[in-house]
Amino acid sequence: MANHQHAAPAPVGGSLVNIVTLSCGVLIALMAAILVVRFLFGLGAVTNLNDGYPWGIWIAVDVVIGSAFACGGFSVAMLVYIFNKGEYHPLVRPALLASLFGYTLAGAGVIFDLGRWWNVWNMFWPGSINPNSVMFEVAVCITLYIVVMWIEFSPVVLEKLGKEDARKKVSKAMFFIIALGTVLPMMHQSSLGTLLVVMGGQVHPLWQTPALPLLYLLSAIFMGYAVVLFESCLTSTAYRRKLEMQMLTPMAKIMLGILAVFIVVRLGDVIVRGALPKAFAPSVEALMFWLEMACFIAPLVLIGAEANRRNPARLFLAGILLMLGGALMRLSGFLIGYETGGDFNYFPTLAEVLVTAGLFAVEVLGYIIITRRFPVLPREDVQAAH
């Protein structure tokens, strides 16, 4: 049961003005300026999108990869509430916060990319929806999940505002919200993979398979844990707090278990479909495939042994590698391994990169402000140094 003795969450405190928050502010301002141009003059004014590559990094990175990076909340909540591993409870709030930002921004990022954004209500209008469309399912699930996550996170805000009654009411229904918060990401993370199926032979055989939903779901789960490893290490360093090794070490083991299953499915699928020879062709795609595989296999070597999982540097590196591996698989499926024929090329413009960076900056800035002012991270005797 979840009644382990943990330090209660508390605001970290400290100043909100420092080099990191200021840099974030600059990036956000740049993004805003670019978006003004985009909405006034169209997508072509700021992006390199074309009819051979109608989806660029705003979709592949901000939405597909960004939402997978935001699976920490879902992965940890599953661990704590579904598999009843109460000892991980202190990880829930920070992971949820990062997920909340990741998803909310992925949702915002979609709007930037929609060519006819004012019609977006059709996505929820019974007379317009198309249940055959994978994107319809993804969009509805992600929208619902963003709402669900805000409710999951609301006790933190209500606690800060001193609204105890409201907080108690929300808490009574929390078990259902948490259950929804595990089912919805399972649905849309798998469907983000299924999005590619209808593109058929335009997606390189190393990334086009009916197993896409399973591959994307499994990878989203271990990427969720990888992100938590990454964030915990980073937060501890930045705020000069103790590393939560007693939680991170066993969690890394669970992550490796899911990773192992994933690798078996990933390789098995490529072999069964007879696509393996494509991985040995002299092509960019083959190189990307092995880069991706290296990122998946390296963590098994790096933290495969229990002793190595107690080493924060190794955990941090393994976390980064898995985030990278999952990101590469998505980038290859959606962009690098996507080939529609004809003489189309795509490489993002600086403006596209800046918008992606700006979204990331909103996330970092929000995380800093909220952890410093709201009770998210476990209380610690040593407070933030600055």
């Binding site: 598999f83 060519g115 006819r116 019609n119 994978v134 335009q202």
Partner: protein
């Protein structure tokens, strides 16, 4: 140890559920859809095409599209490919000395690029808001800008690279051939077929066009034969269907009356392949050629539509929301046991 066992149980249940889904897929597979029986389409015969591009100009006019320039003088509409403003284009294949038309080496050939109006279109399956639809009777794949959210999933999904987006506009639309469905009510059919001087682009019911294509494949190359122009006339349709010609037959769909424009010309040297008969589950636009279709820019596609597989996966996982609700039920039950009301104990102590 109890929690570990719980944990493993959870993992196994999850795995079993996932496996069950994977196994269930072929069981309820959605087949690739056939064309509607009254499907309308075009037959493009590359061997008859002279590359005059009257169809490109007529398409521009019929769809109110602006000219696109690829030359410095900006005098003529010279699009190099279909785009958000160009729904139909004639492309040219050139090889070596270009001595002979419809010849692969040292020859040249033309190819029309426009929407194929798939029997089971990927764009329609992909569109989340039903802005891209397939008419249940005519099978025309139409676009509705008032619903379109501009996500461009249709652009990404189409194996022919047909729906295109207007990136230069803040209110950009998707542009594609809709077989001039807006002109049908006035008795007009596809403008490209109406103006084609050689009958290289022919309008009609796809089933008749397929029969016409097979009739041409059976011809001896160089032998004089009669070729229809514009659209297939009722008498020609009946002949192709193997029925005796009758009088007073209602003209289907009320096309405007026009004189028989068929003419005699030597038959081309065809590849024995009707492109679009089987590709991706079949298309309503069919093509004949003397040069390999892939060389002319038509992709080599499998006989099944990707939409069928995509929707099979989608509906096995989410059909009627049975599985999501089952998983939600299980998760709620487990969470109810594991979530202490509030998690208060730990939260309160700190405050």
């Amino acid at each position: 140890m109890g929690t570990r066992r719980d944990f493993l149980k959870g993992v196994m249940a999850g795995g079993a559920a996932a496996t069950a889904c994977a196994v269930a897929v072929p069981a309820a597979a959605r087949e690739t859809r056939p064309r509607p029986p009254e499907a309308l389409g075009l037959l493009y015969d590359s061997t008859l095409c002279v590359g005059c591009k009257a169809c490109v100009a007529a398409c521009k006019q019929a769809n109110n599209n602006p000219a696109e320039f690829s030359t410095v003088d900006h005098l003529w509409d010279t699009p190099l490919d279909t785009s958000g403003y160009t729904f139909n284009i004639i492309k040219m294949y050139r090889n070596g000395t270009m001595d002979q038309k419809d010849q692969e080496t040292n020859g040249y050939a033309f190819m029309k690029t426009s929407c194929m109006h798939c029997a089971d279109p990927s764009c329609v399956s992909a569109c989340p808001v039903s802005a891209m639809t397939k008419d249940p009777v005519t099978g025309v794949v139409g676009y509705n800008p008032d619903k379109c959210i501009g996500c461009r999933y249709c652009v990404a999904a189409c194996p022919f690279g047909i729906p295109k987006y207007q990136y230069d506009s803040p209110t950009g639309r998707i542009g594609k051939c809709e077989l001039c469905r807006h002109r049908h009510k006035d008795g007009h059919y596809s403008a490209c077929a109406e103006v084609c001087p050689t009958g290289a682009t022919l309008f009609g019911k796809t089933s008749d066009l397929l029969a016409e294509a097979k009739r041409r494949l059976a011809m001896k190359p160089g032998e004089m034969n009669r070729f229809p122009r514009g659209r297939l006339r009722p008498a020609q349709e009946k002949a192709l269907q193997g029925k005796p010609e009758g009088k007073g037959v209602m003209m289907r769909a009320g096309w405007r009356d026009e004189p028989d424009q068929s003419y005699e010309t030597p038959a081309g040297k065809y590849l024995q392949h009707v492109y679009g008969e089987k590709e991706y589950g079949g298309t309503q636009v069919l093509k004949l050629s003397g040069v390999d279709f892939e060389k002319l820019g038509m992709p080599d596609l499998p006989p099944d539509a990707a939409a069928a597989l995509s929707e099979t996966i989608q509906h096995n996982l989410y059909g009627n929301l049975i599985m999501p609700f089952a998983v939600l039920g299980a998760m709620t039950w487990v969470a109810k046991r594991n979530v202490k009301p509030e998690d208060e104990s730990s939260d309160k102590e700190g405050n």
